[in-house]
């Protein structure tokens, strides 16, 4: 995807800014841009979230389906990521134009959620070996303003936090087939345990320093960027007393690199550490925001904005 058109002087200006730890929009190298997050925006989905990170706009909808588990993993459910780059973001995405970018993001998400320490697929099991839930996480990119990976991972985690799976009322065995009766009541449902779900942090190498949350202009200045997937900490996502919940250390669940350049191993190591620290802060902030929003929904104070704000 072609970024904004920048002259070489503009690129040098951005580069010098990064070197002095004072970027062109006034942030330091480890600062994120302001974000807006709202969950439960699509009523046709089991869970949804919309995240706006400066100019980047992401809408995530989670749909659930009952499926048969894989024979080699009878006790586990399924999760699938699908990214759609809407042509609303840029005319280049028209038709099949956005497919390459979409695939790279969905593969990255799939890899980050692959380990059981990141997302426990056992909670999606209904009937071992016979029935399980399949989560379709559909990500819609509505506007690109840089740093898509981070925004997508945050929105996905928020949408999964918002997802409710209906309880199974009865299961009838009829020969080899299982006939499930699901509860109709929308409140008679369970929430997913997504405390460990990973967040992706993009580190953009500009000059010889790395910055988090690059804007579209900064992305076009960098030759290589590193994407680190870091698992979350469940303690940020529960309201109860946190003493009996294991304080899980953040782990790296995936690392990927984009761009034509190369990095020295030393820089790589520093960048990964920087990414883990950034992910920890993001995770804490996201947990706080989501819990606050859930609290507001419970006391009926929440006002739904959607795109009308």
């Amino acid at each position: 995807m072609a970024g904004p058109l920048l002259s070489s002087t503009e690129k040098i200006f951005i580069l010098h800014g990064v070197q002095n730890d004072y970027r062109s929009d006034g942030r330091s190298n480890i600062d994120y841009r302001p974000m807006e997050l709202e969950t439960d925006v699509v009523s046709h989905a089991s869970g949804s979230a919309r995240l706006r990170l400066a100019n980047t706009d992401i809408l995530v909808g989670v749909k659930t389906e009952i499926d048969v588990p894989k024979p080699d993993n009878p006790g586990k459910g399924k999760i699938e990521f699908f990214v759609d780059c809407s042509a609303n973001a840029t005319p280049e995405f028209e038709g099949r134009g956005g497919e390459q970018l979409a695939n790279s993001i969905s593969n990255m998400m799939q890899r980050a959620y692959h380990t059981s320490q990141a997302f426990n697929l056992k909670q999606l099991c209904i009937f071992e070996g016979k029935q399980c839930w399949k989560l379709y996480v559909d990500i819609l990119i509505l506007e690109c303003g840089g740093n898509l990976c981070d925004a997508v991972s945050l929105a996905v985690k928020a949408a999964l936090f918002n997802t409710r799976l209906p309880f199974v009322k009865a299961a009838l065995m009829d020969g080899g087939n299982v006939d499930l009766q699901l509860s109709d009541d929308p409140y008679d449902s369970k929430q997913l345990d997504i405390g460990c779900a990973p967040l992706l942090v993009t580190l953009c190498k500009i000059g010889d320093k790395c910055v988090v949350d690059p804007s579209a202009e900064e992305e076009s200045c960098s030759v290589i960027s590193l994407v680190v997937g870091v698992t979350g900490n469940p303690k940020f996502y529960c309201t109860e007393d946190t003493t009996n919940i294991l304080n899980v250390e953040c782990k790296c669940s995936t690392i990927g690199m984009n761009g034509p350049g190369s990095v020295a191993p030393k820089t790589l190591k520093d960048a990964i550490n920087q990414g883990i620290i950034a992910a920890k802060c993001l995770d804490e902030a996201l947990g706080k925001a989501l819990l606050r929003e859930r609290q507001e929904t419970i006391v009926m104070k929440k006002h739904s904005y959607g795109f009308l704000k």
Binding site: H44, D57, V62, F82, N88, E94, L140, F307
Partner: protein
């Protein structure tokens, strides 16, 4: 020919509206910064985003010396419908919708002003609950206004159906998904209400020609009602950031 029961004995529809009532329309212009024009429109539970890029130089294959080429793409988010969709675009229905959208919008745009140019209109349906095409046309019109593209008139679209009250026909305006699924007729009209002309008309299921006029006039009335709402939204959007006094002096 008694159709399915779309009206209760009190004369109310399945979702509690009266036959001549639209669903609530809420809209906003300029939701995004990158496109030249963008709009969001909510018609009941149908939610649509539209973005407009252009006019810009037309791609070689599309260029026309007569006027601007309106390039439309209609896509539906995979989570927009009750059942999950596998593909957001490229299926037959969305391709047909893209063509219909192009027809309605070309009728509204002053195409002769920009020869050899192209206007891209992208519509994304976030939630479909009946009348997705109508909401798309209305949102696209707002996005075109936001992009500052000269229009002959607002293009507004509305659906209408027919129900039976005893033996009297009663036309229904702005058909929702439940009414669509119940299997009545569905007449989609896209019109330029201020010129009182029809840009696109589509009828599904059978309708006796005796009742065609009443249904069409109800749909046209719906279009005129929508035009009022869109016009108010445009004026409010343009007045934003100004004080009330400024608006009066202009």
């Amino acid at each position: 020919m008694p159709g399915p029961d779309l009206l209760s004995s009190q004369g109310l529809r399945l979702d509690g509206r009266r036959p001549n009532e639209l669903r609530r329309i809420r809209c906003k212009l300029g939701v995004f910064t990158q496109p030249d024009g963008s709009a969001y429109l909510e018609q009941g539970n149908t939610k649509v985003l539209a973005a407009v890029y252009g006019p810009h130089q037309a791609s070689k294959s599309k260029t026309s010396t007569d006027g601007v080429v309106v390039n439309c793409q209609y896509s539906m988010a995979t989570f927009s419908t009750g059942e999950r969709k596998n593909r957001p675009r490229g299926d037959r229905k969305s391709q047909e919708m893209s063509l219909h959208l192009r027809q309605s919008l070309t009728a509204a745009i002053k195409t002769e002003l920009y020869p050899r140019s192209q206007i891209d209109v992208y519509v994304e349906v976030l939630q479909a609950d009946g009348g997705a095409y109508c909401a798309s046309v209305n949102a696209a019109t707002l996005a075109l206004v936001d992009a500052g593209i000269p229009l002959k008139a607002y293009a507004c679209a509305c659906t209408a159906s027919i129900a039976w009250r005893g033996s009297e026909p009663e036309p229904l305006v702005d058909v929702g998904h439940v009414e669509e699924a119940a299997g009545g007729v569905c007449l989609t009209v896209s019109s330029l209400p201020s010129t009182r002309s029809v840009a696109l008309l589509e009828l599904s299921h059978k309708l006796h020609m005796d009742y065609f006029d009443v249904v069409l006039s109800r749909a046209m009335q719906g279009c005129r009602d929508i035009e009022v709402i869109l016009d108010r939204a445009v004026r409010e959007h343009l007045a934003e950031g100004w004080t009330k006094q400024d608006v009066v002096t202009i």
